[in-house]
């Protein structure tokens, strides 16, 4: 299960996707929108992807996780508006023994954050929205795509 989705993520379904009778340990990372960033209240994040390449990169990361850790792996990232408190990304990895499952899951989320072409925009309570994409003047007042 390697997916971009506009629907809420079912973390239990992502975890279930890595079940394997020979694997005794599964580690699931759930990344959730925090209600605060840079001391301002956040009501939601909005995620946008370069979908064609993002899916390819997620598949490539999954393949690396399988090869390096012998893990079963599942990655789901949400796009569009994600309300504070909801998961934006879930990464699950299972392996025969637990240390590799921790390493595999950690590798998956670290690589995702490093190289998958997805961007977030922070939406504040007053309607201000700020892209997190390395550009300084990226604050836009009000609205924006959902």
């Amino acid at each position: 299960m390697i997916q971009l989705t506009h629907e809420p993520i079912d973390a239990a379904a992502v975890a279930a996707a890595v079940e394997d009778p020979e694997h005794g340990g599964a580690v699931v990372f759930i990344g959730t929108t925090r209600r605060e960033a840079a001391d301002r209240e956040v009501v939601a994040l909005e995620y946008e992807a370069y979908e064609e390449l993002a899916v390819r990169e997620l598949e490539a990361i999954a393949e690396e996780v399988r090869a390096r850790f012998g893990a079963a792996v599942a990655i789901v990232h949400r796009l569009g508006r994600v309300e504070a408190g909801e998961p934006s990304v879930v990464v699950a990895a299972s392996t025969p023994h637990r240390p590799a499952a921790f390493a595999a899951c950690r590798f998956g989320i670290d690589e995702l954050k490093e190289r998958v072409p997805i961007w977030k925009r922070t939406v504040h309570a007053d309607g201000d929205a700020t892209w997190v994409d390395g550009r300084d003047a990226a604050t836009v007042r009000g609205g924006g795509p959902a």
């Binding site: 064609e52 390449l53 390819r56 990304v89 997805i118 994409d133």
Partner: protein, 85 residues
């Protein structure tokens, strides 16, 4: 200008928002390097002469380097520092 080729430029995040659209077409000479696409964008999108720090490029949905030469019909994506997760 005759001899020019049309290239699609995909825009995301604050670049997309500044452009008001998620893709533009630019006309360049054949063989123009991917990294030169930036200077062909409208000033309203660029907001300055220099490409943003950390800008990377994809060509037809694969990562590429700024020196890769463009052909007619190519699609270039401008990839600002990512923030998924």
């Amino acid at each position: 200008m005759s001899g020019q080729i049309a290239v699609t430029v995909r825009l995301f995040a604050s670049l997309r928002e500044a452009a008001g659209v998620d893709r533009l077409t630019v006309e360049v000479a054949p063989g123009t390097p991917v990294g030169a696409v930036w200077s062909h964008l409208p000033e309203s999108v660029r907001g300055g002469d220099e490409p943003p720090g950390g800008l990377r490029y994809a060509l037809n949905h694969e990562w590429t380097l700024p020196g890769a030469p463009l052909r007619a019909g190519d699609e270039v994506a401008l990839i600002l520092p990512v923030s998924g997760g």
